[in-house]
Structure formats: structure tokens, C-alpha cells
């Protein structure tokens, strides 16, 4: 028996040791044929599976854009629904390639966690939702409230800071999953539901009577949300950044999924560089020259993605606000392709 087991044990040990040396993420992704993408467990507008299991949303579209850039096929993505608590470990351990999961860009996450933030695909801030029947008009009247939220998020810290700085007593009830927060809030365990304002609008749709609830006007924090990648793989980091920037640049240059083909014949130099008819910008990030063309063709520019998932015409009905382009009074700004 030992004769047979020994080589097995040794073989397993060697195999384990061999995987320790990891190749670049882009090579891994190309080899396996899809992008493994960590998303939330169901947040309408950002990443939400329908009853057929098709994921849609702002964060999901980032994954699709990434797949379109690499494979010229937005379907070559696999999604891992992750809780707020699991997300960073999943990315650090290599279980996923990229994490666009409405994650707030903070200093400690950017530095001590071994992560790199790609950019901001949604400028958000933390808000409060209450029952209209409470007759509360401002967050300053929330003294004594029971507050429901998620564990392991910046939200949990912000709410503590806010109530402490205003010297208002409060009680926090923190759940692991957003669905349970919604249920507990709906049952009346809490007076207040707090999370990023976009999340409040999204979760409100899941309540028994969405019309009986309102989001208070105060925004108590900055929550720049954006995709995250591991530190230490600059090639993948660059690619992830520029896929994001390409969607914003495309909107700024007026390139949409509808007109991208005719835009390819455009004489404007910046459009030519973006769409790969001039220069070798694809090579610099390890892709073909028409990487951005594929992104826009399949997924669209940032404005289209925003309108399709969270914009005024959707159920969420969120105005562009801070997420408008810099040239239109918002904060979305991408470095030029050149």
C-alpha cells in the first residue's frame, strides 16, 4: 500500500508547490477563456441576476466590457456573487480576476489590503431610508433610532461616526447579507436602513410597499465605487483601468454602440486613437488594436451603460448628478488615449 501512496503524496506536494508561481492574470484569463468576475449577491441596477440567471447591471457591464476587450465577446464572463465580507478574500486568493462590486475606494483598502482600485464607475454617498409614517424629514432627527445595515462595510463605520459626531444615541443591527437587511427593515426591526444611496434606491424595490419609504436628503459620506484588482500585476491593472476609461472617453467623444462603425471612419485623431485606426494602443495593454471598438460595439459607452442600468428611464430612476461627464458638470473624467 505505502508503495502506491507515496508517489501520490509526493506528486500532490510538487503540484501544490508548482502552482505557487503565478503567471499574469491576462494570460490566465486568456488560457481559461473567460473573466471570473466578483459581483454583489443581487443589487438591482448594479449586479442582479434575472430568473434565467442572466446578470445585468452597471458592475456587470464592466465585466462584459472587459470580456469584450479581451475576447471580442461580452458573454465570456463568469460571475461569483460575493457578500461584502467575502469579496476581498476572494480577490486576494485569486478566486476571481476582478471585483466590480460597488466597493468603496478607501485608503486602507488601496494600501494595506494589497488591492488596486481601477477607477470610479459610480460616485455615491451613504444615505438613510425611513418609513414615511415616522414623519422624519432629516437625518438629524434620527436620535434613538435602530439602524439596520450590512456587516463589514464602510457603511457600518460611517453611521457610527455620524451618530457619534452628532451626539445622537442609536443601535446598530448588522446583517451579513443585504437581503436580510431588507427583510429585517421591512419587518420593522429597524427604523432606518442605511447604505449607499444607490443601494437604498435599489433595495427599496424589494420592500413590500416601496412607496411607503423615503430616502432622507442627507448624504453623510463620499463613496467612490469602482472595480478592484490585485496588486502586483501591472499589466492586468492597466488593462482594467483602460477598459473603464475607454467607456468614458467614448461618451465624451460621442461614440456609441450604434455609431461606432461609422465613427471608425472618423477623421478626428482622438477617435481614431480610441478605435485603433491610428497608433498601437492595444499592444500596450496586451490586446488587439480594436479592443476599445469591441468594448463600445458590444457594451456601449459609459452614458449608455448608466442609462440602461440605473438611469432615469429605469426602475431605479437615478439622475446622472455627480456621475455626469466632467464637461457636463459631473465628476466622470478619463485620461485621454494618446
Amino acid at each position: 500500500m505505502t508503495m502506491k501512496i507515496m508517489p501520490l503524496v509526493l506528486g500532490a506536494a510538487v503540484a501544490l508547490a508548482a502552482t505557487a508561481a503565478n503567471a499574469g492574470t491576462l494570460d490566465d484569463v486568456k488560457a481559461k477563456g473567460f473573466v471570473q468576475c466578483g459581483v454583489s449577491q443581487g443589487l438591482p441596477g448594479f449586479s442582479n441576476p434575472d430568473d434565467q440567471g442572466n446578470w445585468t447591471g452597471l458592475d456587470v457591464d464592466y465585466c462584459r466590457a472587459l470580456a469584450a476587450a479581451i475576447f471580442n465577446d461580452p458573454e465570456k464572463v463568469k460571475f461569483s456573487p460575493l457578500s461584502a465580507k467575502e469579496r476581498f478574500t476572494a480577490l486576494q486568493s485569486g478566486e476571481i480576476d476582478v471585483l466590480p462590486r460597488n466597493t468603496t475606494w478607501t485608503m486602507s483598502r488601496d494600501t494595506a489590503l494589497g488591492l488596486n482600485f481601477v477607477g470610479v464607475n459610480y460616485y455615491d454617498g451613504q444615505g438613510f431610508m425611513v418609513r414615511k409614517s415616522l414623519g422624519v424629514a432629516s437625518a438629524l432627527e434620527l436620535s434613538g433610532a435602530n439602524v439596520c445595515t450590512n456587516t463589514g462595510t464602510t457603511t457600518e463605520l460611517n453611521v457610527a461616526d455620524y451618530f457619534r459626531s452628532k451626539d445622537m444615541p442609536y443601535q446598530i443591527v448588522a446583517f451579513e447579507k443585504a437581503d436580510e437587511v431588507v427583510q429585517a427593515y421591512d419587518a420593522g426591526r429597524c427604523d432606518v436602513y442605511t447604505t449607499d444611496a444607490s443601494g437604498l434606491y435599489a433595495q427599496r424595490l424589494k420592500l413590500t410597499n416601496p412607496d411607503e419609504h423615503m430616502v432622507l436628503p442627507e448624504i453623510i459620506s463620499k463613496e467612490p465605487l469602482g472595480p478592484v484588482v490585485r496588486q502586483g500585476d501591472d499589466e492586468w491593472f492597466n488593462l482594467a483601468k483602460w477598459v473603464h476609461f475607454a467607456t468614458i472617453n467614448a461618451e465624451e467623444l460621442g461614440v456609441t454602440s450604434a455609431n461606432v462603425d461609422e465613427m471608425k471612419n472618423s477623421e478626428t485623431p482622438s477617435i481614431k486613437r480610441l478605435l485603433g485606426t491610428e497608433g498601437e494602443y492595444g499592444k500596450a495593454i496586451g490586446l488587439d488594436n480594436d479592443w476599445a471598438y469591441n468594448v463600445i460595439k458590444h457594451v456601449g459607452n459609459y452614458g449608455e451603460i448608466f442609462e440602461r442600468n440605473v438611469g432615469p428611464s429605469t426602475q431605479l430612476g437615478i439622475a446622472r448628478g455627480l456621475n455626469a461627464l466632467w464637461s457636463k458638470g459631473g465628476l466622470q473624467y478619463a485620461p485621454p488615449v494618446r
Partner: protein, 404 residues
């Protein structure tokens, strides 16, 4: 093996070292140990290298940093400005609290149901049977959700009193009731109470010995009641009644969010704790009931008959003859159930009860120190489990049949 055995016995000629089964065995064992050691070293080294490569912080320094988040249930002083270490300690105590009380209730319910299951009364034994079969076969997490979400919706809202019996109120914010407030000078009463309990134990032992020696019985129960109630009462009155009772205060006016029961009046059991406790004890009790049933059935029926023949009534027979013998069979699997209950308490995270796993998860997420936090988790649960197991093994030894 069979093939090897079928070969003719090896001749006595000096086999070369390579073919000596003893040497070969030893070599393989050494190789295996070396391979294992190398594997473990490789894992540790690999982790370290990867952590460095990805610029992830390591070490225990984070335990002193400010936590910055609130915890709904804290048995010791804790606020947002406390450290991560303190937060983890609060979570640890919350785990101990729910596990300890859960073990107590599960044992009590389990014994009652287990005995009821064997009752000659058809209705009682059927009720016990249905209880066991239903609750044991539904996943625990579902039961926790049931007690939390389904029952939560059924109780009165936060701004209603929800009186069950005078002085006790159940609403969505929890179960409230009167709490004792210890003022200055109350130590003497508490000491008197502890003393009375100790005395009662002593009297019980003495009475047992006396009965064994002389056959005379001593009214232990009445003595106990007299001691435990009387002694502290006398001291309490003598020291000028230093303990008062705080009733939960209910406010119906003022800003709407400040209405309802006021914090700091009476005691409160939060619904997260109640649901988890109910689910854990009712679920574990079903297994304990089956263990108790098995234990009782393991005692030969002759013991019952012999005890009846001596003129003992069924109640005394069960208490004095059957259960002590059944305990030998019951204790080892009972230990496993206690361990299960303790470990299952980590499901608390699903319903916002701040146990060690829940609080630890938050700390993990704020600091990113996954390896350290998971090490703490493993160490704490391992320690609790080993201590429980050690205690139960000691108890088992005491209960074991003394063979001479």
C-alpha cells in the same frame, strides 16, 4: 496483500537491505513524515511570500486600533472608540453566552422530551415523537430564519408595549422585564446568597452520607428553600434594602424615534439573541432527546422490575435507578451535541447576533487581516470545544460504572 502472502515464505538467506520489509517500512514512514513537513513548510512559506508580494499587512498590531463600529449586545464595556481586540472579546463573550444558555436549555428540553418519548401515555409519546422528527430534519439555518423573520413579523411593533404578563413585554425590539439594581451595600446580600447555595450543597452531601449510614432521611428540600430564600432576605432587610427593581420604562410622547421602551431601564433580551437561542436549543434538544431515549433503553428492563419489586414508585425508579445507569451511555454522545451547539452558534451571523464570527468578520473586512482573524476563530472554537470535552470526560469518568 493477498498476492504477497501467497508467495512462498521468504528463505532465511540474507535478503538485501532493499528487500527487508522492516527497513523498507521505516524508510517509507520517514519519507512520509518528511514530505508532510515539507508540505506544511511550503504552505507557510508560500503564504508569507504571497502576502509580501501583494503588499498585504500582517501581524497582530491591528488589535489595538480603534474599531469604529457599534455592537448591539455587549456584556462588557464597549463603544465605537474601543479597539478591535475589545470588539473581538465582546463577540467571544456573546458566543459563550448563547452557547452556555443554549446548552442548558437544550439539556433540559432534551431530557424531558427523551423521557416523554418513552412514556406509556400514547399522546405524550406521540407529541415528543413528532417534535423530534420535525425539528431534527429541518436545517438549523432555516429554523433560525423562521424564529427570527417569521416570528419577528408577528410580534407588536417597536412603539407598542406588547405586554405578555404584567412587568414583561415582548415587542419587535426584544423581550423586556424588571431588572434588579444593586445599590451600595448590596454586596452582603449577594454574598449571603452565594453562601446559602454553598451551604445547601454541603447539607445535601451530608444528608446523603447520613442516609447511607443510618437510613434516616433529612428534609433537604425544605432546608434548601429556607437557606436560599431566608438567609439573603434577612441580610437584605438588615442592611436596609439596598437592592431595588428597575421596571422597563415606556414613553408614549416626545419625538417619534425616542418613543417606546427607554434604554437603561429594566432588562432587555434582543430578538437576535432570543431567536438564536430558541433555534439552537430546540434543534439540539431533539438530538439530546434521542440520546436520552437510547440511554434509557440501554438499561436492562430487569432493573426496572427489580426496583418495582423493592417497592420504589416509577418516578423514583427513573430518577434513582434508570437515569444514573443510562448516564454512562448518554454522556459521550451528549458531549458531541454540546460541541455541535457551540459551533452552530456561529450561524448567528445570518441574523445579526454579534457573535465571534460576526464581529470577527467585520474586523476582517475593516483590516483585511484574514489569516489572523481566521486563526483567532479556529483557536477560540478549538479551545472551547476541548474544554467542554475535557469537562465532559471528567464527568463521564465519575459516572462510569466502578468495577472492582
Amino acid at each position: 496483500m493477498a498476492v504477497e502472502d501467497a508467495r512462498p515464505a521468504r528463505a532465511t538467506d540474507r535478503a538485501s537491505l532493499v528487500n527487508d520489509p522492516k527497513v523498507r517500512g521505516a524508510v517509507y514512514q520517514i519519507l512520509l513524515v518528511l514530505a508532510l513537513a515539507w508540505l506544511i513548510w511550503e504552505i507557510i512559506d508560500n503564504t508569507r511570500t504571497n502576502l509580501e508580494q501583494r503588499n498585504m499587512a500582517t501581524g497582530w498590531g491591528f488589535l489595538d486600533e480603534t474599531a469604529g463600529f457599534g455592537i448591539i449586545l455587549n456584556l462588557v464595556q464597549y463603544s465605537e472608540v474601543s479597539s478591535y481586540g475589545r470588539a473581538l472579546f465582546v463577540g467571544f463573550l456573546n458566543t459563550l453566552l448563547v452557547a452556555g444558555i443554549g446548552v442548558f436549555f437544550a439539556t433540559v428540553i432534551g431530557f424531558i422530551v427523551g423521557i416523554a418519548r418513552l412514556s406509556k401515555n400514547w399522546v405524550i409519546s406521540r407529541i415528543a415523537y413528532v417534535y423530534i422528527e420535525v425539528l431534527r430534519n429541518i436545517p438549523l439555518l432555516l429554523q433560525i430564519f423562521f424564529w427570527y423573520f417569521a416570528v419577528l413579523r408577528a410580534v407588536p411593533g417597536k412603539r407598542e408595549m406588547g405586554t405578555i404578563i404584567p412587568g414583561f413585554h415582548l415587542n419587535i425590539a426584544g423581550l423586556r422585564g424588571p431588572a434588579p439594581v444593586f445599590q451600595e451595600g448590596s454586596t452582603a446580600t449577594v454574598v449571603a446568597f452565594i453562601l446559602a447555595v454553598a451551604l445547601t450543597v454541603a447539607v445535601k452531601i451530608w444528608a446523603g452520607r447520613r442516609q447511607a449510614a443510618t437510613g434516616e432521611q433529612f428534609p433537604v428540600l425544605w432546608t434548601a428553600i429556607g437557606l436560599i430564600v431566608g438567609l439573603p432576605l434577612i441580610i437584605f432587610l438588615a442592611t436596609g434594602m439596598p437592592i431595588s427593581i428597575s421596571y422597563p420604562e415606556f414613553k408614549e410622547t416626545g419625538p417619534i424615534l425616542m418613543r417606546g421602551f427607554q434604554e437603561g431601564t429594566g432588562f432587555v433580551l434582543i430578538p437576535e439573541f432570543l431567536s438564536l437561542l430558541l433555534a439552537l436549543s430546540l434543534y439540539t434538544a431533539t438530538f439530546i432527546a434521542e440520546i436520552v431515549r437510547a440511554g434509557i433503553l440501554a438499561v436492562s428492563h430487569g432493573q426496572t422490575e427489580a426496583s418495582y419489586a423493592l417497592g420504589l414508585r416509577p418516578g423514583s425508579t427513573l430518577r434513582l435507578v434508570i437515569i444514573p445507569q443510562a448516564m454512562r451511555v448518554i454522556i459521550p454522545p451528549l458531549t458531541s451535541q454540546y460541541l455541535n451547539l457551540t459551533k452552530n452558534s456561529s450561524l448567528a451571523v445570518a441574523i445579526a447576533y454579534p457573535d465571534l464570527v460576526s464581529v470577527g468578520g467585520t474586523v476582517l473586512n475593516q483590516t483585511g487581516q484574514a489569516i489572523e482573524i481566521i486563526a483567532i476563530w479556529m483557536l477560540v472554537y478549538l479551545t472551547i470545544s476541548l474544554l467542554t470535552s475535557a469537562f465532559m470526560n471528567w464527568y463521564n469518568k465519575r459516572m462510569a460504572l466502578v468495577e472492582r
